[in-house]
Symmetry: D3
Subunit: 322 residues, 6 copies
């Protein structure tokens, strides 16, 4: 057995305890009910791009609160009349929805795309979630003392509403909606798969929001903001760990019922392999894992082709772990 085989075998067997709070299911049931009851108040406006082959719309909708979440809703101008499959995309931490042209690769596959801003971050979308306590630099410590006021809750509901909005569009086949994203976007993908029946499959690249009790001590990524918050306010340790546990895919993985494609870098110090495997190992749905043994926090090579294959496969064909 080579060293890499040993390392992978260890990872395949890593199965830390869940950290779910008692009222986890109740919390999410209430959250989902509230979200469903809230109108989207969406606006969809045609916008021009430099490409004659992209039919582009600037969309705003309300997610968790009144914040107008912005997104690009994009359709290829070719490929005929029928309903299309759509990929709902969540970007990585500090990023934004970018520009329509950057989704050309997915459009070229015949997919529609709905790419949203995560609130407050590097896109054009603000954030009206009230901040009632101090924070460390970044976003994740907003409202972190209580799961109900947590930024994580807001962005998860924003993501769920994006999926709901997509399913309502006339051009889209609601049975062929896929959620996807990397890092933070991968975390939101897992949350969306666990909390919504709409997505038919999901792609969670190097996802965060996984095994956060481990990540807060070991990650060099966004969880350092929570760690620094506790360092400043040592008496808030329990409250912070409790809040995180509501948004940890480790505690929700078993709710996932649709095929999922996950990727992981064994040298990733941001979304550490321990955290990704901990969640992946608990997923009971059809699943596939792409391991990048020498990658840090990035996928590489022909990864887009692997994603595309997964997207193009019939959903009923069972994803198999590679």
């Amino acid at each position: 057995m080579s060293y890499m085989e040993r390392r992978l075998a260890d990872m395949r067997q890593y199965r830390p305890d869940r950290t779910a709070p008692e009222d986890l299911e109740k919390f999410w049931a209430a959250t989902l009910a509230e979200a469903k009851a809230k109108p989207l108040n969406d606006v969809r406006e045609r916008t021009s791009t430099l490409s004659p082959y992209i039919e582009a719309y600037r969309v705003t909708y309300e997610g968790f609160d009144e914040t107008p979440i912005q997104g690009w809703y994009l359709l290829p101008a070719f490929g005929g009349e029928g309903k299309r499959p759509c990929v709902v995309l969540f970007h990585g931490y500090t990023g934004g929805k970018g520009y329509p042209e950057q989704y050309s690769d997915l459009l070229m596959l015949g997919f529609a795309v709905f790419a949203i801003d995560v609130r407050g971050q590097g896109g054009e979308t603000g954030n009206l979630l009230p901040q009632s306590f101090g924070m460390t630099r970044g976003w994740i410590t907003q409202g972190l003392l209580d799961p109900k006021t947590s930024y994580y809750r807001a962005i998860t509901v924003d993501a769920l509403q994006a999926v709901r909005w997509t399913a309502e569009q006339p051009e889209i086949d609601p049975d062929r909606i896929c959620v996807a994203g990397a890092s933070q976007g991968g975390g939101l993908t897992l949350m969306t798969l666990a909390l919504s029946d709409i997505p038919a499959k999901g792609i969670a690249d190097i996802p965060n929001m996984c095994h956060m009790d481990y990540g807060i001590l070991n990650s060099t990524g966004s969880l350092t903001e929570a760690a620094e918050f506790v360092s400043r306010h040592p008496d808030k340790l329990e409250a912070v760990l409790r809040t995180l546990s509501y948004f940890d895919a480790l505690n929700l993985a078993e709710r996932i019922r649709k095929p999922v494609f996950v990727s992981v870098g064994l040298k990733d110090t941001i979304c550490l392999p321990e955290t990704v495997f901990a969640v992946y190992n608990r997923i009971e749905a059809p699943k596939r894992l792409q391991v990048y043994p020498f990658n840090g926090h990035y996928t590489s090579g022909d990864h887009f082709r692997k994603m595309a294959s997964f997207l193009l496969e019939p959903a009923e064909s069972r994803a198999e772990d590679e």
Copy 2:
């Protein structure tokens, strides 16, 4: 002439152009009028500390908007009955008001202290300023597209209201209020001296908010947030530079009329010596400069004693540049 003499002589003569927008005075006149008209809605509650010699109050007041700004108002339990001088303190970026005990050194000089949180940062104070566009990590890009909605405006008014609140306290001699702080706190000190008649003197250690047109290109500190914001949104360059110019002490330095003590580190890469000298050289009030030739972004040695001397001097005695 030694190299250090040459370097200092160059700095003493550095006098870059002001970047003031046409309506600078109008902007501040309106802002100050609005602030003055707004009630402070303050709450002052006795709190206990472990020291029997500190009379401590937890204070909240409203500054720029409805956000309850928190502060510690502290009086030494000794030193007699009369009205006291008071130091109003603004902390550095990402920090907070901390704990009452850490101001013991000033209390021991016989001063009262009012140490506030800068909104949203590492203290206990939230931030209700609405965020209506994306941001980069940190605070300063909030509302940065318009001076009226800018985070800088909010924290400057918060600081001014802190001074106003102090002047209203029965224990305080309103003619002996000093403003002080380091880095961001030094920037707020300069702003407060320029915009309020209340403070009798000010201590601006290694201040930021100085010559920001230079800093945004060269500083490794908080202005990198604005630089990254422009990098993401290149079309916002002009708007960002314009907003910054309203809060640049370079454009307000000549309004300062009270003695001011400034410090600078020649190896500071955050609040670069060029930026501090640019402002210092324009101050026409009594002034004193402490140069730390080998310091980065920190003061050192007996700096507290230098501050204390300045605080204890009669205000009318002219500060002299060392």
Copy 3:
């Protein structure tokens, strides 16, 4: 005048001496004649992608020597029958031609694409240029003691042959070929524009191969390989500087006759602004410059849209400096 205005004004006036050797024109005349006389020995094979809208070919051709240079030749499957414009793409240092799907954004604009590997680097293309002396890590020190054996010469000719090959393809309008690339790819773009009549315009993002006598002392990029080579072999200093001068766009800029779009980051430590401006200031053709004042070695924001606008403009419309 703000600090940024001062900085830009300085850059606009930076005009260091050319370092051209006496026989520069002769060298290139001979090189170009030799290249023209050499058959391309090309192979073009249809290959499948996951997208039904990309007509993709795997191409090999011979550039400077017998090395089979690999490239993707891509056509959008939509957009009608006529001859198309084409973008010939050169990648950055250590990179490769990647995968067809990543050029979807250009295809979506209606352009054909020919994206080649730079020999020996991170793509699939080897390198048969003989190595007859020691090297430092990387590629650029291969044959560096003599312009005739230099790796730079080989990759420049490879780039020129790529343009020649493109002009021969039946689907392509030879009057609407654009060359483009970033960093190393930007350097090859400038070289190709200077040395070939075929391209109708070029996009040189944050280009290297500019003012290399400055870069070898100050850049943190690939020229450190040449610097380290000289450090190991101090007696080779003159020979190395001489070889570089044959491949320095500073010495060839005045040969450029077609519109060119250049970008530069003022905080770029790899392709330093001094080096880009030195060349840009000498270009006499229609030209346009995009300055990213806060960027290191990257473009950002809507840069693709700026490139697309430039590509879509009629070539005869004069590019204007912004």
Copy 4:
């Protein structure tokens, strides 16, 4: 069990072998006898501060040899006539005793303070310990080939003499002397508690001089000086490890009989958690541990308040581990 619980449980059970040399007790008995027999030759001179509420003395005394060790002896000017408790303070590596004002927080609690320089470091105190062999940068390799000539021995005795001096002052209640310090100062606190009957309690923040056989291989702190010394002189490995073992709190922890308050950062790379827990787990006296799970080599938040509580508790009340 969450990851943090697992990590803490592991640390609580970490109990590496002691490395005590055979003659450890004899060595210290002789050292203590010698120290006790040596006159302090102390000088205590009133000095002025800017605060009218601090009664300050500049003190020199002889510790291990003739080096005059300097210290600030400080009394609050308030609080009445009786004998006072006193905190004897040892600073961190490379530091110094600083300035009287910086101890205002302890004075405000009603404590006297005696803050000394550690010899030769960043204060005003020299070092007459003879250096008879080469050293690496820093202090700890002085005399490191023999416990009798070791710098560690000198500073430990200096610390013990500071305690002895304090107990002799007329203003001080000798039953309420506390020793305290962080890092190096925490190490000296543990040593002093183990070797002297005078202190009534001690506060060892993120202490060094713990489990040094582990630290010399893994710490990034001052033990790297010893490691580099061995790297230069590989034949001295045994001698160095032997010397260190005389000054390792791991070997002396069981001698501690007074309540002790210890803090540790789980991400501390200087005084690694393994080293602090190894010693803490062996202490049999009343003890309390403050774990900062996300801190490197620093305490944070309201740590001063935790220290103050511990100081103010009656010594007989048993400290309990939190």
Copy 5:
């Protein structure tokens, strides 16, 4: 048991699985036969140095292919007429054979020296091994998809031919040839000892080419080039691991029959202690290990003296592990 004793005991017992491919012996038998059959086509030319006591020759010979490998062949001008022992030296990665004078220390011991360039690296020797696929920066990914075309194979044969050439020189006692080197040179030493009967002993300082299945995941040295190659071409993982296994001393260690002296640094992140011990523990020949507990990738102190002792000992005296 101290921590260092525990750490060493663990290392002494570390015995990971071999990763040898089935045809390993066949591969090397064929390779050695081919090499033996190939003429050396060597040239030996007297060259002058500044020292009258060095008899120096510039040598070229053909190793694996037609590349003329360069070396310095050096004899002390003193020490009499008889045949001499000789040290064949292989340099570290990116280095070169340097200058004759730098081998004065070995000449002063009475040894002849043959110091060669490793092909293509920082010396004067080129590299004619064809490159038929892309590479990452550096040398080791050349031909890495197939053991037959691998750069490792070429340099190993170059080293073996250097030994063969040495044995043919009239001044040399062929029974007293030692191979030696550090890092890459240490790896080549182990390979040469395993694959040739000529060397009478070998010194492998902090050797690479050991337990490469571990190193490719954990080393910060040259194996990162292979790791990055796989990151770019994920489908090549198996091929790369397979190729490396042919050149991993872990799989050839048991073929070593002559005394060998190995050194290792416990803090070496390039040639990690796990990799060196894995190989050392499998060597069945007389062996000696020098552990530098606090060293990174370097030897230190009197290491040359330890090497000299080993060189001067009669070969038959059994090396003993220290």
Copy 6:
């Protein structure tokens, strides 16, 4: 004019003011007189090496005070009976005299060698200079408040006494003594050339102790210790600058009367090119400069050969600047 030519031309003209104190000559006259009057109390003992061709002696002598300075005195066992030339060697900061074998290259040229420890640093030599004030990590702040007690004074006199000792040895031709060293050793070389008539020439590689008023602000080397010292004790700035000026080769360069060979790296951040050129430009003796345009704090390539050429040239042949 290429950029490098411009840069060199600037350096050649760099001529900052001297910073010499009024009593500089008096200070050195007294120091030299005192040193001359002091007996060397030297011990010279034959020691064995592993090489039969090195005649080695372990030497101790007293330099500035009673500290026994250790050195290796080495003679080649070959080369006949007459008096030999000798190189007196001073090592770089933190180093030591090492082992006799490492000087084989100079012995091979026929030179004797006397290589000494700089007191207190990484060799075997202690340091009895009393330390009467605090220090920062390292050596140079010892006694820095007064030129008379400065560590620089002690090591300069130690170096001078080494030269004096050498001239007294029966094997040595006192007219052919050369002083040499790199970095700190280069600084001591310049000092020795300026203050003693004995040396016939000197080699100062990348020397420190040059233009220290510039270095203390800009160097990343040992002068940061002085800078940090001032940072801790801001009131000592003048005293520190004054002390340094006594040991700054800038103020003594014009005393040098013997040929000197200097080297400099244009990218050296420790001994910055400005500092080396400032001194070199003031030397009026025959001089030669080797510029390494791409080197940091190291020489490279065939530098030893350049040194050897300089050593072997007749002293009367005028060194010429290259």
